[in-house]
Each structure stands twice: as C-alpha cells, then as structure tokens.
Symmetry: C2
Subunit: 308 residues, 2 copies
Amino acid sequence: MRKSVLAIDVGGTNIKLGLVSPSGHILSRTNLPTTSFIRRKENLIGAVVSASRRIIAENRLNNKDVLGIGIGLPGLVDARHGTVEVLTNIPGWKNVPLKKIIESRLKIPAFVDNDANVVTLGEWRFGAGHGFKNMICITLGTGVGGGLVIDNTLYRGEGFSAGEIGHIPLNETGLKCNCGGYGCLETYIGNQRLLKRARIVFKDNDISLEEISRLASRKNRIALRFWKEVAVHLGNGLAGVVNLLNPRCIVIGGGISNAHQYLFKTIRETLLQRALRTPAGMVKIVKAKLGSDAGLIGAQVLVHDALL
Amino acid sequence: MRKSVLAIDVGGTNIKLGLVSPSGHILSRTNLPTTSFIRRKENLIGAVVSASRRIIAENRLNNKDVLGIGIGLPGLVDARHGTVEVLTNIPGWKNVPLKKIIESRLKIPAFVDNDANVVTLGEWRFGAGHGFKNMICITLGTGVGGGLVIDNTLYRGEGFSAGEIGHIPLNETGLKCNCGGYGCLETYIGNQRLLKRARIVFKDNDISLEEISRLASRKNRIALRFWKEVAVHLGNGLAGVVNLLNPRCIVIGGGISNAHQYLFKTIRETLLQRALRTPAGMVKIVKAKLGSDAGLIGAQVLVHDALL
C-alpha cells in the first residue's frame, strides 16, 4: 500500500489538516481556527502537532504509515532549509525552522513551502494544469498570488519569492500598493480594491463580490461591465507574463475566479489583442479545478516530489 | 586538444563568423554584410557556408576538428528542431530547417537559436552573469531583447519565445507597439523612440545617443535627466520581472548600456523603491561584459551545452 501524506494548509482564518492519498484524494480532514493561536507561534505549532497526532490516530495509522508532512504557509518560506522567514498576516514568525521543529516532534519527514506554491503544485499534478511542462497558477483573493512551473519543475526563485504575479505593475503612476510598489496588479483586482470599487459603482455599502456575480448571471449590465474591467486589468497584467515566460497554460483560481464566465473570455481576448502572437496563440487560460482543497492536495505533491 | 566552435551571429546589418575556443576566446573572425544577401535566403545560406569553409581552411582545420556550428538569428527559432520559424527584419524566412541544411552542407553538427538567447548564454558562461543560477540578460537597442537563465538552464518557453522583456507593458494605455501590444517597455526605451524624444528635448534633429552620453559625462543637466528618465522606465519594467522571477542577477547590454554610469544607479534605486523587498534586495544589476562579441561567444556555449 502506498503511503498517504499529512497535509497542512495554514491560512489567515483557518488551518486545514488532511490525510491525502497518493492519487490526490483527501481521505480525512479537520480544521483549526488560526485566530485562536495567532498570538504565539508556539501555540499554533502545538495545536498543529496535536491535531496531526489526532488525525493519524483516528485513521488507525502509525507515524511510519505516513509518507511525510507537507505544510503550506502564507509568507516567505525557504523551502530548501524548511524555514519560515516571515508570514504575511500572522505576526511573530521570523526565521522559524518549522521543518526541524515538526520533524523532532512528530518523527515524520516534513516539508514546508509558500501557500501559492503549494496550490500551484496541486493544480499542476492533480488539477487544471495537469500535464503541462510550463504552467502558471494565479490565485485571486485579498492578495493576488501565483506560482510558476518551468520545465516541469516548480520554480521558487533565488530567494524563494518568485511568482508574485500580484505585484507586476500595470501602470507606472498607479496607486501605492501594500508591498511598497506602485500600480501593482493587486491594487486593481485584489478583493479589497474590488469591494471598494463595487460600493461606488453599485452605490451600495453592503454589496459583496458574490452578489455581483449573481447580478452578472442575470445579465445586469453594470455587473457585467464590472467583471469585464477586472478581466481587462488581469489580461493586461498577464500580457507581460505571457510575453516573458511563454507558458502553455495559466490556471486561475481563488474566490473571484468563480465569476469565470464573465472573466475568462475577456482575459483571452485581451491577451490575443495585447500579447505577442506566438505566446498568446498557444496559452490556455483555464479555471482552477481543486477549489479550496488545492492547498491540501498540493502538500501531497510537495512531499511526494521531495521524497520520491 | 579541445575543439573550437564555429560561431555565426546573424544580424540585420552584419553576419559575423568566428572560431571560438572552449574557453570562450575568439581565435579568428570574419564579417559578411547581411544586406547583400537579404533578397534570397538561399544566397545568405550559401554565403555563410562559403565563409565557414574559408575560416576553417584558413585556420588549417578539418571539419572534424570543429566541435560544432552555433548560429544565432534575430527572430523566432525552434532550437529543439533547429528550425528558423521567422526572422524579424530579414524577409523570406519561414520554417527554414537551418540546422539540417547546414549539417548536410558542412558535415558538422549545427545548432541554432534566437540571438538574444545566444547572447544570454555568452554572458552567463563567460561574461557578467558568470556563476549565477538564476539570471536575466537584456540587450538594449532598436529592439529590447532578453533571455532567461532559470535553475542553471536557458529557458526558451513552450514555443521558443520566452524572454521578451521589451514587450512587458509599462502602462495599460501606452503607445501602440510594433508587436501589436500597448505601452511595451520597448516603446519607452527602444532606440527609435529615444532618438525621437532626444530630437525634441535637445531641439536638434541630428543628435545621436552617443552624443547625449558625452553631454552627460560633462554633467549636462538635460542629458543627465534624459538618461535618468530612461533608467526609471527600465527600472519600472524590471520591477515586474524581479517580482515575478526573483533572479540573482540582471545583465544589461547593448548600445545604450554604455551610458551606464547614468543608468545603473537609477535602475537600482528604482528597483529598491518599487519591487518587493526580498527580490529587490538580492538582485545585482550589472553591465554586460562581452560587448558585440557576445553573439559569437554565446554560440560556443550553445554548441557546448548541446553536445557535452
């Protein structure tokens, strides 16, 4: 019997844990609320370790039945040494040797990586990017994250920060971004910015992005135009990525990708209009397949590719 | 004795041929004027074959003393099959199996690639990018070309068009570019655009870019501001590249890189201001070392890496 992976997906709201089979199926899962442990990293690590022991025991496994532990975290992660350098919205994490800590507590090989990279691994092996040698994955949310598969390998960059598609500038004199830059893609299509714009466009302080998708599905013209503008900005940003990297496939996931029928057509048109003919003509723009399970399923790939 | 490579660098004006040693030294060289053969591709190929035979004979070598032939061309080149798909300023080239043609005429293994890729290989192995695992090379000229070394391999992209740094958009509503896109880096810092701008700024229809560098070296304020604007645009474009790829080194070559004392400082400052802290802090911005020999020296690397 081939061994399963214990997958851990640390997010700003929830920590998901799951047992993932070699074929990418989630056999068992549990959740922890991140905010309960956000004050002290020792508490968060302790809670993850306890939950891991529980999920292993509940599935009547021993530690040696688990191939490894894969952990995705929202921040800068040195995947080679297994060190969390900094987390984006969880304070107190600086150069934490998480791989070492988890291995010493659970006696199972552990691997850590940035969450967008883990999602990319999942979509590449088991999702919408399956079979592509050169593929890019984007997650649309509060932040706009990304990961790059280049020549059949996840490319992490010299300092493990590659793939920051959300911080490609769209305009030289654009708005100041949280990252310190100006006019980044995220300042145009990050959820915060979209909600702000939605409140103005719809003259409604309580409108949600889901509601705008519902309105669009009923052919509401303002909603359709709202999503079209998002898609044009995204297409403009991707034109640079496509010209630079000439990928075969771009997988788009995250919350607003669910407005896909209003997004994908315009993204494709924008690329054909604006990117170079060769790379624009060959790139597939597809919706992510794994949804919110991508982080767990990708953790299986992280461990699998490190060990086998 | 280790064998030399017969290197051929096809440009819009000249075709350079050289015998390049395993250590990257040009042992012998000759030039052909491209324009004499521009009408018919058979004539260009014939001239290259004759000149190759001549250079081999003049150096008292036999075909089997030559490791291989490396050819760089300005256009889209399928480096795997050795096919020239299209050339940028030389008409009549469409899906030309140049590798096969050269091999059948000269009985020496031949390898072809895009010229910017060949320059990148040269700077990476023997020039300013030596020793870097993740490195980007940019050539500034009429066009703004580029090549990417990722995880110690030249990355060509799914359709051999990767590295088009000149066609990263700087502004969504920028000028229409020759490539069909809008606001591409090339529309801001390509030589044509720079000359046009120079004529306005200096109110002089005959001013050259070299003259503006001379003026800058004498602290002429208009000239200094002219180069500073160029550097800010280049830095803004590179901010996206640095955030996306997190390279260790960016090598900048081509004509206007000779204005370097006025360019490089501002490029570095712009990156530190605008790109993410981790990748901006670790990337070196350096001037290319090989000058106009990069195409010949890179052809040695192209052959070497394909055969050895």
